[in-house]
């Protein structure tokens, strides 16, 4: 800009010759290398997963066929489906409650500003990472192996998966509180338990509910697949229907699941608006 205003520009319609390159030679080299690496990676990935291409080619036809057989949804299994659905929802609710109870101490120890010492902080962090990195379905497999199939395994799977999520977010909410009231309580000679109940809890309550509702919403969705590994809920019926080629029942299950997830979303939205 400055150079142009100094030199006498012939015309704003044409302009002088200006050499413009977006990337330097080194950057271009690096980018080319990046593209090649990505292509190699893609080829390697495809070659290892062993896709049977004829099936991929017939997939659209299969899909059309399946849709055709799914229609119309059959109401024959409506009762057991609704029963299993309630079970799924209850697994989500109870799992979330258990998770909250277990996550609160983890959150307290995992919040840098209130944790008693380094060791407790790291302990909490390990718990948070460990429960988060194992997926719900894996937790379900573990608990089915320990407790046998049934909704209890599902509840614990949902709960253990949620501890890390809840613990981390609640710990962050604790770290963000205004520290002034805590100092005021300390100055008044209050004990730790009193400081927690008077200065920390009231400030964390709004975030706590928002986080818990969010997790409950996620858990509703997660609980619908638990039946696939025998941990209770609507997934069991879903798998049974697929195994016996009852496509009209499969479609009803899918519709019901979508409706429940939608309802969950709705409830979450309403509650969150009430909270804020």
């Amino acid at each position: 800009m400055n150079d142009n205003t100094n030199s006498v520009s012939p015309s704003l319609l044409a302009g002088d010759h200006f050499d413009w390159v977006r990337y330097s030679r080194k950057q271009r080299l690096a980018r080319s290398f990046g593209y090649v690496a990505a292509a190699v990676l893609l080829y390697w990935a495809l070659s290892t997963v062993d896709i049977f291409w004829p099936w991929v080619r017939t997939a659209p036809a299969q899909l059309g066929d399946m849709m055709f057989r799914m229609f119309p949804p059959s109401l024959e299994k409506l009762n057991p489906i609704l029963y299993a659905l309630v079970e799924s929802i209850n697994i989500a609710v109870l799992g979330t409650i258990v998770a909250v109870v277990l996550a609160l101490p983890v959150a307290y120890l995992g919040a840098q500003t209130v944790t008693p010492n380094r060791v407790t902080l790291w302990l909490a962090r390990v718990i948070i990472v460990a429960t988060r990195s194992v997926d719900t379905i894996i937790w379900a497999l573990i608990f089915v192996a320990i407790l046998g199939p049934g909704p209890l395994a599902g509840i614990l799977a949902v709960a253990f998966r949620s501890i890390g999520f809840l613990g981390k977010l609640i710990a962050e909410a604790i770290e963000e509180i205004d520290w002034g009231p805590v100092e005021a309580m300390q100055a008044a000679g209050a004990s730790r338990a009193h400081i927690v109940t008077y200065a920390i809890v009231p400030q964390v309550v709004p975030s706590f509910w928002a986080i818990t509702i969010l997790r409950w919403d996620i858990n509703i969705r997660e609980s619908t697949v638990l039946g696939l590994v025998g941990a209770g809920g609507i997934g069991l019926i879903f798998q049974g229907a697929i195994d016996t080629f009852k496509w009209n029942t499969v479609s009803l299950v899918l519709i019901v699941i979508v409706m429940v997830v939608f309802a969950g979303e709705l409830v979450t939205g309403i509650v969150r608006r009430k909270l804020l």
Binding site: D178, G180, P181, E183, A184, M185, Q186, A187, A188, G189, A190, S191, A193, H194, T197, Y198, A199, P202, Q203, V205, P206
Partner: protein, 263 residues
């Protein structure tokens, strides 16, 4: 009553903020500490109730060295020292009454405190204090609905709820508009006079200090360079206390203009 001997404090590896400070309270009731910002006024008050740890020296309250205390002993000494904060430090989502009663937490047992079951005499006293500071109509109002001046009144009531032996106030009026600030100073001076309660108060406003204080301390770079009656605080002394911070001084010399307040 409060005797500070050779108090030293630095944050981390930084310059010392308090450089061997000595201070003894006497029969004069309201002691104002003035000094430029960064002089160490807040640090001094916060060392007294151990909100920050001092490096060395002694702070004796009725003969007990506060710096030696731990755990429950420390809690018991802290509850004898009331504190009023510049930012009020109330719990916004709790009610006025809950905030005032929180000043009593050092005295009630763990369960009583958690369940908010304070002894009736505490509730009675909290209500009396709220009447005195003019907020008895707001008992069950949440603190985040109050104005700045009202919040500081709650802050005063909470500190007095401790039945303290001494009151510390760290620029209690600095966040308020000039007129509200005067009202709060009147309240603090009036109520502590009724209770005959000694006060250590950091002030950013020199006219307020000379108006309300019985004794003035001038702190400069962590050293107490002035200690006298308000009448002894001459222009010369002010220039010494604020040397290098003349802008600060000019700001702090401002007298409250008559304007609207936020109450």
């Amino acid at each position: 009553m409060l005797k500070i001997t050779d108090l030293k404090k630095s944050y981390g590896k930084g310059e010392p903020v308090l450089k061997g400070l000595n201070l003894t309270t006497d029969e004069r009731r309201l002691t104002a500490i003035i000094g430029s910002s960064g002089a160490g006024k807040s640090t001094l008050l916060r060392c007294i109730n151990r909100l920050v740890p001092a490096n060395s020296g002694k702070i004796e309250l009725d003969g007990v060295n506060i710096l030696d205390l731990h755990g429950q002993q420390l809690q018991h000494t802290r509850r004898q020292i009331g504190m009023i904060f510049q930012a009020y430090n109330l719990v916004d989502r709790l009610t006025v009454m809950e905030n005032v009663l929180a000043g009593r937490l050092g005295y009630v047992g763990m369960l009583r405190g958690i369940l908010r079951r304070f002894p009736q005499e505490d509730v009675d006293r909290a209500y009396a204090l709220l009447q005195r500071v003019g907020l008895s109509q707001y008992v069950n109002k949440r603190c985040d609905t109050l104005s700045g001046g009202e919040r500081q009144r709650v802050g005063c009531a909470r500190a007095l709820m401790q039945n303290p032996r001494i009151l510390l106030a760290d620029e209690p009026t600095a966040s308020l508009d000039p007129k509200t600030s005067e009202r709060i100073m009147e309240l603090i001076a009036g109520i502590t006079d009724e209770l005959d309660l000694p006060v250590l108060i950091n002030l950013h406003n020199v006219p307020q200090a000379t108006t309300y204080a019985d004794r003035i301390l001038g702190l400069r770079h962590g050293v107490m360079i002035f200690d006298g009656n308000p009448g002894d605080l001459t222009e010369d002394w002010l220039e010494k206390i604020y040397a290098g911070y003349e802008d600060d001084l000019k700001k702090q010399m401002r007298v409250a203009p008559q304007e609207q307040d936020d109450e």
